[in-house]
Symmetry: C2
Subunit: 308 residues, 2 copies
């Protein structure tokens, strides 16, 4: 399969590497010049679940990539999605499948402004990774990667992507309800990420605070309310149990949004609690916890001098 | 006038010093042993608006004070009010006026459980101060100290206290609407103190954030809603203008609640946003901003290991 990775940070490089190793024809796309130069000169150095490797793999800025592709995997930050779609228009044919595994809410709507619904595949992944230096990344996990076609008639094409991912060791899974998975994952990030960033603590410390139940209930109730209007049925009690089980598993870990603030990077709050607040307002519903949390995280960005 | 100061921190010492210098018979009351010992051995060393002095002044724990008094000024922390009232019962006669100048909401209700309404005088002050060491404090400002009797028929006694304070250089003022002043001051603390603590910033930084208007409006609207049920008319727009003017005046200052968290002391959030959240709930109103802010500040206390 001829595949492009649009956004080649830690996850993009990980997916690209796994798929290329399995015989696919992969091209990485990114904007970061040092990273591009390093991979062009000495290849991609990547450690997958503790095992280091180095491979030659094509990489370039969007304007430098002249081919078209069967499938494009998007691995930008949420706020970089629209810009990336603008920049890669020329590599998409009328049959190119675009697979979006980004965290957060509202991405399908953005993508649908650029390509026909029949080519949109949404999903979630629990693989993680990190960038160690330009050209050097690590990638960890065992999946799964759950995906589902936005258009109900397009299951066949999605199953081919699922198979390609599984053959590549990425644990692809066809999902009948990726919408639910996306919303539940947004709940994880909208509670743990948002609150740990605000309170400057790790997940273990957050879940040991006295009124954690009140905080989770306040946030999850609003996510559930808005999810329902979009056809995802997010049971509040079940979600809170899931959050607690997840927190138990990850322990004293600082979530990515906490690290964003620490490193003075813009957070993805607008694509989590911010989207819930906005959608609630659009639909005449109340989501004050989401609204206040979004305002507070933005205030924190301002105080840290992070430019929007 | 025979006066006791119940709670002899920076403000208590400041008021006690000024009134004793003016010929009143003042006794300080406190629980902090090092502070009591220092004042008993070498007097109170106090700097008032930059001018240092040292005076002998009686001080003891509540159980060590055997006299009764014409007036008792309370200068505890909000969470120490009830305990102090329990401990000083024996120094109150049926005519002792109790003057409460504490920040925060709900104090008149607590005091009314201990003394008849006719003896309760509520007020606010804009004097400030700090404790430099046991027996050594500073005190700053020029007032005013606004007070009003809880019982409408008791104006005469209050006017005597006002005169005594003014004679002592404390700028006493009789207020016809101390309830309003208390609520407005609570708005200052419920916005600046609460948000600067949560966001770890000073007042200047807070008021320069992009959505400060949204934050202020969210909080002040709820304070106004509950104030109205208690007969205080807090106009939202006017209050926000007042907050902005106040912020402009104080500048890059870290408010007391920020310092509480920094020094790992319990905050007074329960007597500000916490009281608004609770009273709203009791009255079937909505105050989600106040509720979430209270939950977040308590979570911060927990994370910092501050015991409740």
């Amino acid at each position: 399969m001829k595949i492009a990775i649009a956004g080649s940070g830690a996850l993009g490089c990980g997916f690209g590497y796994m798929m290329q190793k399995n015989g696919n024809n992969v091209t990485l796309i990114d904007f970061w010049e040092d990273h591009i130069k390093a991979i062009q000169e000495t290849g991609l150095t990547i450690t997958v679940n503790g095992k280091e490797d180095n491979i030659a793999i094509p990489i370039g800025k969007p304007s430098e990539v002249k081919d078209t592709f069967d499938a494009v995997f998007i691995f930008t930050k949420s706020m970089g999605l629209r810009h990336m779609l603008e920049e890669i228009k020329h590599i998409l044919t009328e049959d190119t499948k675009v697979i979006c595994l980004l965290n957060g809410l509202g991405h399908a709507k953005t993508i649908s402004e650029y390509i026909p619904e029949k080519n949109i595949i949404m999903g979630t992944t629990v693989w993680t990774g990190g960038l160690d230096a330009p050209g050097k990344t690590h990638f960890m996990g065992e999946g799964p990667v759950e995906i589902q076609n936005a258009d109900v008639n397009e299951k066949e094409g999605t199953l081919q992507i699922v198979k390609m991912m599984s053959d590549s060791g990425l644990n692809g899974v066809y999902s009948e309800d990726v919408h639910f998975t996306t919303w539940r994952k947004a709940c994880v990030n909208g509670t743990m990420n948002a609150l740990c960033s605000l309170l400057d603590c790790n997940i273990k410390e957050l879940f040991e605070t006295t009124d954690i139940d009140g905080l989770l209930k306040g946030i999850v109730s609003e996510f559930s309310l808005v999810a329902k209007t979009e056809g995802a049925n997010l049971n509040v009690e079940e979600t809170i149990s899931y959050l607690k089980a997840t927190a138990e598993k990850v322990g004293a870990h600082y979530p990515s949004m906490h690290q964003d603030l620490k490193n003075k990077r813009l957070t993805e709050i607008d694509f989590l609690n911010g989207t819930v607040a906005k959608e609630a307002e659009n639909k005449g519903l109340e989501a004050p916890y989401s609204k206040l949390i979004t305002q507070l995280v933005h205030a924190k960005e301002d105080i840290l001098g992070i430019k929007r």
